[in-house]
Each structure stands twice: as structure tokens, then as C-alpha cells.
Amino acid sequence: MRASRQLIAAVAWLAAVVSTGAQAQAQAGEWVSYRDAYRAMVQFEKYGGPKNLLQSQLQVQSRDHAGLGEGAQLTLTGKTTQLNLPLDALGRTVFPLQKAAYDENAALVLNRKGVPFVLRPQVTIAPRADGQYDAADLRTACAQALGFVRYVDASQRARQCAGVRFVFSKKETAGVRLRHPEGGEQRLPEQALPVTSGAAFTGDPDEGFPIVTWRFGTAPGRVQVVTYNAPLAIVPIFE
């Protein structure tokens, strides 16, 4: 009985010491373990399937759905590591895979005090500088993304590529047109795709981004999809 009390007292003492140490380590903002983020983000690097048309980024989402606001950025902080990671309009940044940061057990700190957040890996289709996408390339890119999703999640094996979603900045005009191939009996005029409002990624709290969804359907392989402003993201759609 006495031994039990001494043991419990020892653990209580340890709790006090740990609490003090943890407070001393407390960061200026909310934090996430770099090792935990690394574990999720490195899967895309390790994936051996085709992925040349894709890009992988780390997305920050606020837990309270209030948004991150302008100027949000992550900072990778360790004993010898200090790296600022600016976020784009969708809260994404390129995740640095660094052995030094891993070995130091570094933290990813958000420059928003009291804003709890989650990190999600987001794999999207890499945008082209000329804004012109062959339908066949978009189908291939979507298939590459689906291949990766199936690699990390066995429950996704029954899903199929259905289309792509172009996400645009709220500050610019959104526009996507379909350009039909030349050389037919009659050339069809360019066809503007409807712009709606929605979330960039499934589950995102901000549903106010201008988006254009193009479903593959029975579109001929030679059709071209043309964007007139650079999209923030091209998101593959699986159904």
C-alpha cells in the first residue's frame, strides 16, 4: 500500500516536471510534429507509379472553419532548423523533406495564435504555363492521381476518374473554354464552361472559390481545355 502511494506520488512529481518542461517548449502558435507530417507526405515520394503530371502539397486547414486569413504561414522550427513556408490562397505549401528537421524532432508552427489547425496532403494536377490542356492529358493526369489514391487507400479501388475541377482565385476572373479540334467538316466555336462557387477540396470549409468542373463524359480525346487565368489548383474528381 505504501509502495503504491509512493509510486503514484512519483508519477505526480514526474507530471509536474513534464508540465514545466512542456510549457518551456511551448511555441508561439499552434504546432504539429514534423515527424507526423513527414510520415504522411513522404508517401507520394515513395510511390513508384506514374506521377509526372501531378504535384503534392501540404494543406493547412483551420479547425474552427474560420479560415487562416491573409499572410498565414508555417514555420519549420527545430534546434538548427528555421524555415518559413508561405501558404497560397488555398492554404497549401510545398513540404520540405529534411532529414535534419526529422532528426531534431522539429515542429511546424502556424503564425496564428489560438487557431487550431489540421494538415492534409493534397495531390493535384500540375498546371501548365500556357493554360492549354489536351483532354487526353487531363484524363491521364486524373488516372495517375487515382493510382496514387488507390495505393494509399485500399477502399478507393472501386472508384473511377470522372473529371477535373479548376479552382480559381477569388480576385481574378474565372474562365475555362473547350476548344474543339480543327480539320472536321465544320469547326465548332469555343464553348465556355459554366463557373460556379464551391470548395477547392472535398471537406474544405471555404466554399466561396470560383470553380469550373469539366467532366470527361464522352468528350473526344482531341478536345482542348483552355484557361484564361492561371488556376489555383486542378483537382481530379473520382466517383
Partner: protein, 286 residues
Amino acid sequence: MNKLLFLALSAACGMTWAQTPATNPMPDGSRDMYVGLGVQSAPRWDGTGSRKVSALPVLQVQWSNGLFISGMSAGMHLTDSPTFEYGPLVAVQPGRDRSGTGQVFDGVGSAGTTLIGPVPEPIDKRNLRGTGLDGMNKIGARLQGGVFANYYLTPQWRLTSSVLYGAGNDHDGARLDLGVQRLAFELGSQHRVSVSAGVSIVNRNYNQTYFGVSLEEAAHSRFSWYEAGGGLQEAHVGVRWNWALSPSWMLTSNLQAKGLLGNAAKSPLVERSTNLTVSTAFAYRF
């Protein structure tokens, strides 16, 4: 961000099944290690109502080559597939003397820690006279060897299995563990809770060692002769709660409920077929 993350640095006499943390891809030459100390309240041996409070060392290490140590288990991930894990596994089965099961270690899990539930009896307030294992032969700690295989239904749910051989008086006890785990994984949150459930199937030699009573033991103890056969031995459910206090410090807690089944439940050593094990520990991440 999916599965991953399981620290399970806990072990207890109530947790004899092997722990296999999720694969943990990391830079070549790196490792992820947790070391800690806590306290545990557990039955003195499987099936008794008598409890003991003891110190609980915590240890979990994973290396970039796939090797891992988690509590009383060690093994190696032979694949880095996100959906299928398998490899060799060794585990220490604690011994048992007249006072009960021996010292155990814990991991931090692949999923989380526990919400600590109420302990049904006041700790260490029982009169232990006449409730011990006096007259029963001592069972030494045993090193078991085997394999594990886990399959992820989704990044959050995994089916687990392991086979271990080498427990018991004659090192010929075999044990098959089958389970399902909900890996709690949420970046951004400092709290992660995971749940698990499973069953254990053992051979006759295993059950006879830990739940049987030989004629010699019957003559020297308060227990009557009992020959335990093999089969379904137990079902268990557990919850683990990991609270990251800082990037380096974690509070890991675990609650396990175990129900003995079949021949084990009928053993004269078993005073109650259902038992709880509760533990909490601080761990430092290196």
C-alpha cells in the same frame, strides 16, 4: 492524413498480445523513439480479482530500416506498403510466480492512448491472504517468435494478426491473435484516441501452462486439478489516448478490458472472467 501515428508504449499482464506499430517511413538512418515511465493498475494474474499497482516503463523505437521495438514486442516491417504490413515478430511473455504475473513494458501504440475509465475496485485494498498462487509452480518469462500481418481496410482501419510460438513451461505454447484497430490520426490535434478489439486463440500447451492445475499443484495449492484444452482463450477491447504536450513530451494512457473464454474461463485460477487494466505514462520523444 490517414493512419499512421501509433505510439504504444504500454504493456501489462493484461496485454499479452503483441503490439506492432504502423509502418513509419522516415529518412534513411533516422529513428523515432519514445521512452517514458508511468503507473499501471492490473490484475495480479489473468482472471484474478486481486489487483496490483506497479511502475510501467515505456519504450517504443522505430528505425528507418523497418525494425521496431514496442513494449514487450520487437519485429521488422518487411514492406513499406501503406496498405499491407508483415514481418517477423518476437515478444516476451512475462513469467508468473506465487504473487502473480511479472513486470511488463508498454509502447505508445500506433494509434493513441486511452480515456482512463473507472477502476472497479479500490487499488490494493484487498486482503490478499489466501488469494495468491501459493503452491503453483513458477512459470518463467518466455521469448516467443513468430510473424505478424496487418491489412488496412482504409487508412484509419486495420485488421491485425500475429502468430507466436514458444510460451509456456515447455516453450511449446502457441498463440494466434486476430484484431481490428481504429487508428486515430489527426494532425493538428494534440489528442489522439484509438480503439482496438480482438480475440486470441491458443493451443493446449499454452492454456495448460497458464490456466491448468497439475496434480502436484493441486496437492500443494488451494486449486483443484484442471486440465485446460486449447481454443478460443480471450476477447479484448482497448482504448488508447495519446496527448502530445509538446513536440517532445506525451502523456499516453491505456484502458484494456479482457474477457477470458473457453477452457481458460473455466479454470479454477479464474475468479472473474473479465478484467480491466489501466495505465498512464509520460513519454519523451527523441
